[in-house]
Each structure stands twice: as C-alpha cells, then as structure tokens.
C-alpha cells in the first residue's frame, strides 16, 4: 500500500463494473439522473482531469459549487488588492492564482509589469520573511482561501506579532465554506440530491463542521480526490440518497477526523473573528468571512494602510457569479471560449487553477453534461 493506491487503475475499473449497474438501476427507478454538487474547486478539477465526470455522466449531473476561493473573491476586494500594489513602498505578497485575476481596470500581473513590487509566495510565512528582509517597505499579504489555508496565515500573523515584525500586514479575504453551502440548501431553485463536501476544508473543521446538513435533511459525503475516492463518494451519495435518510458521511477518514484539526481551529480562533463577507455571485453572506481579530489590529491592512477606495465596476456578460453557485455551466456563458479564455481571462473562474471555467475549457467538451 502506498499513497497512490487510491489511483489504482485496475481496482478503479473493477469498482466501476460493480457500481455503475447500481447507478443505472437507481436512475431508471427515479426516471432521471442524480444531481450532486461538488462544492470544492479541487473536486471540479479532479472529476474532469481523471475523466470520472464523463464516466458518471449518463447517471449523474455533477454541478460545480463555490469552493474556489479565488473565484468567490468579490470584485471590490480584488480592486482593493490591486490598489495596495499601486502604493509606493508597498510590496504585495500573494498566492500565484491571484496574479491574473482581473480587477475592474487592471490586475496584479499588469501592475507588476508597470513597476509595482508584487511577489508570489507559496505560504504566508514566506511573506513574513519578505517583510523581515525589507524593513523599509510595507508588505501586504493577500489572504485568500478557505479553512484549509487560513490556519497557515494565522500562524504567520502570530509569528509576525511574536517577532515584532512591524512591516507585515494581511488583507484578509478569507471565507468559511459552510455558510455558502447553507445558502445553497435554502435556494429553492436548486434541485440538488446531495453534496460532495470538500475533503481538505473538512480536515480542518472535521465532519463535525457539517452536521448541520443532517438537520436540514441533506445527503452529504466528505470525499477525497483520487479516482477511487471520487467514484466511491458518488456511489455512496447515490445509495444514501436513495435510502432517504439524511446523513453526513466521512468517506475520507484517512485524513479527515470527526473533530478536524483542533490545533488549527485554536489558531484560527486566536487570530480571526467571524464577520460578514461579500462573495462574488452570492453578495453578502453573514458570518462567512474571517476578519483579523482586534488583538492583531496592527497587522490588519484595512486598519493600518489607508488607500483610496477604488471604483468597482462589473464586467458585462461575465457569468462567473452564476457558475460559482452552480446555476449555470461555463458553456452557457457567451464569453466562454471566445472572449474569455485562459490566455485572456475576463473572470476569475477562467484564471484560477480550480476555476470551473478553466477546468471545463481544458478538459470538457460541450455535450449534454449538465443541464440546469
């Protein structure tokens, strides 16, 4: 057994042969396909890249959800991040995915080309190092990510505070995933049979972070990202949905624990406080964002680095908001593949490596994959 056993091709084929007849029988009984939402952007990519989406397509419509933190970053936040880059003596440190996300008038990549100091980091602690190496500059780290990423950023904030690195700041656009799922389950337009929950968010929050779904009569499975994880998770979603009993199953127990990572939760609790947040596509969702706690006010870029509030305008024709909510597929956006491509993206869904549009552009053909 090694890490890659969940990719075993032969085992996968054998499981398909066992499971597909069940899916066939169920859909025949229902007179329609299953409709499940994969909440997480990494699941979207995994289903497409492995071809599992296509294998399941005759029986399951897989709807992509809002689990791409770059994609759900509000345009106003994007414009603010770009505004920091324009400031003199500011170094903006960011995860790579943000570099080409279009703001209203520019993007970080363009600002860098125009002379701004914008640097890609692989971790928030990398940004703290940049701050200690550049004491005369203000380093603003762009905090984008869900519960999987926020603990690492929290550690960096604690480190900067402990070591009195006074020129390190964070602009937090961090968000929590369950509140967005709550909005979706209360949306009567959505006819979803169940949710495939994000495996690595669940590492942090545990199965316990999702039990509210049982109380709302939902069927949900926490799943991993290898082909056998994907196939068996959907199989479990289907069989449990057919049994009619609401449940939240942990189908990724090799990494997800019932209570999650409590040390990570404690770090989050120390550094952040839950606040309202504006999501692309959803608008404001209460108690869905992580704002920096007032103990760490001096590290909060919004409190300490004054910038002129940029003017935000929306791009006509961009359907990222609807794609993020699973209401439309990329194929239904007029700009998809024509005006909006990975080379010249118009919306974040085409930029992010986990964006639904980027994934579909690379891996999917327009067939009868998903009908809203």
């Amino acid at each position: 057994m090694n890490i890659l056993t969940y990719r075993d091709g032969e085992l996968f084929q054998q499981l398909c042969q066992k499971m597909i007849p069940f899916l066939q029988a169920y859909t025949h009984k229902m007179g329609r396909k299953f409709r499940f939402m994969e909440v997480c952007g990494t699941h979207t990519v995994a289903f497409s890249k492995t071809g599992v989406r296509e294998i399941l397509a005759p029986y399951v419509d897989l709807v992509s959800g809002p689990g791409c933190p770059v994609c759900v970053t509000a345009q106003t936040d994007m414009d603010q991040m770009i505004a920091y880059a324009k400031e003199k003596d500011v170094i903006v440190a960011t995860f790579g995915d943000m570099m080409r996300v279009p703001g209203s008038d520019s993007d970080l990549s363009r600002e860098r080309a125009d002379g701004a100091d914008v640097r890609v980091v692989y971790s928030a602690s990398g940004a703290v190092e940049i701050a200690s190496q550049n004491p005369k500059k203000q380093v603003v780290f762009l905090g984008v990510g869900f519960e999987t990423t926020a603990p690492g950023v929290a550690l960096a904030i604690q480190k900067a505070s402990r070591e009195r690195i006074k020129n390190f700041f964070v602009f937090s656009a961090h968000k929590l995933t369950p509140p967005a799922v709550r909005v979706l389950i209360n949306d009567s337009e959505h006819q979803l049979d169940g949710f495939l929950l994000p495996g690595h968010v669940s590492v942090i929050i545990g199965r316990a972070g999702w039990t509210f779904l049982e109380e709302s009569n939902q069927t949900a499975v926490i799943g991993g990202f290898e082909p056998i994880d994907l196939l068996t998770s959907i199989y479990l979603l289907a069989t449990n949905m057919m049994s009619g009993k609401p449940c939240v199953l942990n189908h990724y127990p090799r990494i997800v624990r019932e209570k999650g990572n409590q040390k990570a939760q404690a770090v989050l609790h120390d550094v952040f406080q839950v606040a309202p947040a504006t999501w692309r596509g959803f608008g404001e969702i209460p108690q869905s964002g992580l704002a920096i706690h007032k103990h760490y006010r001096s590290i909060d870029a919004t409190e300490t680095i004054p910038i002129q509030k940029p003017i935000t305008r929306t791009v006509k024709g961009c359907r990222c908001g609807e794609v993020i909510k699973g209401k439309e597929t990329p194929f239904q956006c007029r700009l998809f593949g024509t005006a909006c491509t990975p080379e010249k993206p118009i919306g974040p869904c085409m930029v992010s490596s986990e964006g639904t549009c980027a994934t579909y552009y690379l891996f999917e053909e327009e067939k009868e994959l998903v009908k809203p």
């Binding site: 056993t5 995860f95 999987t148």
Partner: protein, 74 residues
C-alpha cells in the same frame, strides 16, 4: 488553492516548527506547527506550506480493503 499533497517526513528541524518532507522525490520544507507529535516516516498532508494533518495509513489500507471486498462478493 486546495492543492494539498501527501508527503513523507524525512527530517524534523530542532526548533520543532518545521520539517523536510518528501513528495514523490521533491523535498521541501514545511511548517508543522498545526500538528502535535510529528514523527519521522509519517505521511502528512501539506497545504500552502503547512502540514495540516497526519495521514492514517492503517485507515487508508482498511478503506481499500473494504472496496476490494465488494468486488470479491459475487
């Protein structure tokens, strides 16, 4: 963003804050402050420069065994 990868711990720094991990031949330094009692040889899940969980190999094996049982049943 959710680019978590499983990696094996090959060296723990004396401070206890960081470790060198091997992901299929690539060796990187990651933070381990979000975990308790990391040991050499263990597999960890790494995300954005931090190890966020230990991978339970026994549970992983059990999971595969369960599915193999399903195949063996005629």
């Amino acid at each position: 963003m959710c680019l978590s990868v499983p990696a094996q711990v090959i060296e723990i720094e004396p401070s206890g804050w960081k470790a060198r991990v091997d992901y299929l031949g690539s060796v990187v330094v990651v933070g381990i402050a979000l975990l308790e009692n990391v040991e050499l040889g263990q597999y960890v899940l790494v995300h954005a420069g931090e190890a966020i969980q230990l991978i339970d190999m026994e549970t992983a094996l059990d999971g595969i065994a369960l599915w193999k049982e399903m195949i063996d049943k005629t």
